[in-house]
């Protein structure tokens, strides 16, 4: 839970600051804590690459396609952009990158079970939703296998797209539908088994793994807040800080 809280603090600070320096400083700190989470860089990249790509693309597009150039002009190939536009674009890209990485790292370092427990016990989410989603996550690898087998079965029946995109779309739609039917059947069986063990009994549920916010949890959130304050302070001192509404 503390991890989510810390990520939330970071996201909020980044949302508020539109200059490039603040997010750059926070980003350095976020990358700095990666070794402490026990995650490998490759694991993070595997989840975060679309977001990283999007951050760059959005930053670049905003800098290049800004409606009114401001600041001194910088020639970039056929285009000319103002330094102000470049600064805004870099700020935007770095903010998105920071928010995305903070989110990915906090989620990737949390076990789904911890997340479900935290949602139920600390945010008082309904167990029907949190535990149900947790159980459903267990079915995902089975669905992946089923998707593969459905593809094989279509080939075995003499059905393939033969390279035609229209046939491919039809085929894939049919395969998706079959996957959905199979998924619903499994989910129904799972929920029956859960109810058979009293999930819908209506008795107030107890918890096998009580959670408490410990000192180190608060320290993590405080640390995240300190990093953000420090970054904002440095950026204010350097005279580059700009508030989102300012």
């Amino acid at each position: 839970m503390a991890k989510l809280g810390a990520a939330g603090v970071v996201m909020l600070a980044l949302f508020a600051a539109v200059d490039p320096l603040t997010p750059a400083l926070v980003l350095v700190a976020v990358v700095g804590v990666v070794p402490a989470t026990g995650l490998r860089a490759s694991q993070i990249l595997a989840r975060a690459w679309p977001l990283i790509l999007a951050a760059f693309a959005i930053g670049a597009l905003n800098a290049l396609l800004a409606p009114a150039p401001n600041g001194s002009p910088v020639p970039l190939g056929p285009l000319t952009v103002g330094t102000g536009n470049l600064r805004d674009g870099a700020g935007l890209g770095l903010r998105i990158l920071g928010i995305a990485l903070a989110g990915v790292i906090s989620f990737a370092s949390i076990e789904p079970l911890q997340l479900a427990d935290a949602l139920v016990q600390e945010l008082h989410a309904p167990p029907r939703f949190a535990i149900g989603a947790l159980a459903a996550v267990r079915l995902l690898p089975i669905l992946a296998d089923e998707w593969w087998i459905l593809g094989l079965a279509r080939r075995a029946r003499g059905v393939d797209s033969g390279g035609s995109p229209i046939a491919w779309v039809r085929l894939t739609a049919g395969r998706l539908f079959a996957l959905l039917v199979g998924g619903i059947r499994r989910a129904t069986r799972l929920s029956l088994a859960m109810d058979a063990r009293g999930f819908d009994a209506g008795v107030p549920r107890t918890v096998a793994r009580p959670m408490r916010m410990e000192r180190r949890d608060w320290l993590l959130i405080a640390g995240a807040a300190a990093v953000c304050v420090l970054a904002t302070g440095l950026s204010l001192a350097a005279g580059s800080y700009r508030f989102i509404l300012g």
Binding site: E111, P112, L113, I131, L134, A135, R138, L139, P141, I142, E146, I149, L150, L152, A153, R154, R155, A156, R157, G158, V159, D160, G162, G174, A178, V181, G182, R186, R189, L190, L192, A193, M194, D195, A196, R197, G198, F199, A201, V203, P204, R205, T206, V207, A208, R209, P210
Partner: protein
Amino acid sequence: MSAPPRSELPRAPAVEARGWGWRHAGRRAWALRGIDLQVEAGEHLLLLGPSGAGKSTLLLGLAGLLEPTGGAATEGELLVNGLPARAARARTGIVFQDPATQLVMPTAGDDVAFGLENRGVPSDAIWARVHATLDAVGFPYSASRRTDALSGGEQQRLAIAGVLALAPRLLLMDEPTANLDPDGADLVRTILADVLTRTDTTAIVVEHHVEELLPLITRVVAVEPGGGILADGPPLEVFAAHGDALVEAGVWVPGRRVPPPPSRARPPAETLVLAEQVGFTYPGSTSPALSRVDLQLRSSEAVGIVGPNGSGKSTLAWLLAGLVRPTLGDVVAGEALDPGHGHDPIWRWPARTLARRIGVVFQEPGNQFLASTVAEELALGPRRVGVPEAEARRRAGELLERLRLTHLAEANPFTLSGGEQRRLSVATALATAPAAVVLDEPTFGQDRSTWAELLALLAALRDSGRAICFATHDREFATALADRTLRLGAPRRDQAGGGAGP
């Protein structure tokens, strides 16, 4: 009617059904009707009946999991420990077939704790009960063991622990070994035998193959499709008095084996499919699912692929059927399957070519259904491979007749019973008149009638010159049909079964 005094409640029969019946929503026929049954506390009852006789429905009813909503209908009364089944749920436990859709939590201990949390057991009392129950079922790992790192048999053992932790007075088992390989099934039967011996829990078990359990069963009840009770009594008496009727109805009766298919003269064998040092590693996996197997499929011959779960039986079947491109070695066509070419890798063939030459039957029949009626389903393959419309219809009609599906020609394939779906999936594979037929677990979960029918059909196909290849856990089926058997080794060891070449 006055309520019985409280002190008498524990002496109410464990189960009392009076004229009970159930009709699923959207169905015209009753799944079960006119069930009169009384089970005393402590009895161990084996429930028998052919596929579609409503055994699972009765167990769901007893477990209090059937809700008469959305067009479903019920009649009569179903009492458990003197209470309506739905009100008695807290002390009723049920174990289903498939461990994958019973486990909820990522680790073993948390999964056993799940039911206790639901029942409101105080947090500090939960873990003592979790550990005691895991010990009781002989769970060989720590409570923090991840559930996805367990074999099917171990998962099912854990699912049983999850039910036993709630101390049920009535324990229901719906084919708890049906989804497991022989070793896993043995494991679960051992646990089951132990539970039935040690506790005085009332138990109702639905199982197909029951020899090992029989000494622990005090009573056998056989139900009829849509009807009532066909036979009821001590196991030996029921099998002696009603054995023939039960076999006739499709029920597996201990000691009654299906006679082996007659031996007939066959055309000479020619190589149709040739696997050379074939292996396969799934994308993203580090260990091969299958490595370096040599195998030939020849006409007029049946080859069985056996081995434990995870040894790559299905993968090998898919490779031999040209559905998957091997990551090691190759699978090529023999001259007899592809005249004029031969030695072409079969995974390269377009789907139509493949479907004309090799028929495939998947473990889950539903995976291969594409049409909205049974008749359309059978005409689809021939149409795809270019058979003229009239001929496609004629073939569909012939197969319907041969596999006793004619009365279902206009039904939706997904509404058929398990046995009917199996017969239809075999029929779709045969519709294109392929020279080789590859089947994955064809007898999985089938009752005696469908089992015997499949054996006779596949033996006849082989004797008429087809190549038959099937992956199976079913030792009896392999013995009855296979001319040769390839045994694949346990998973995660870098070796596959020995060459069973000719």
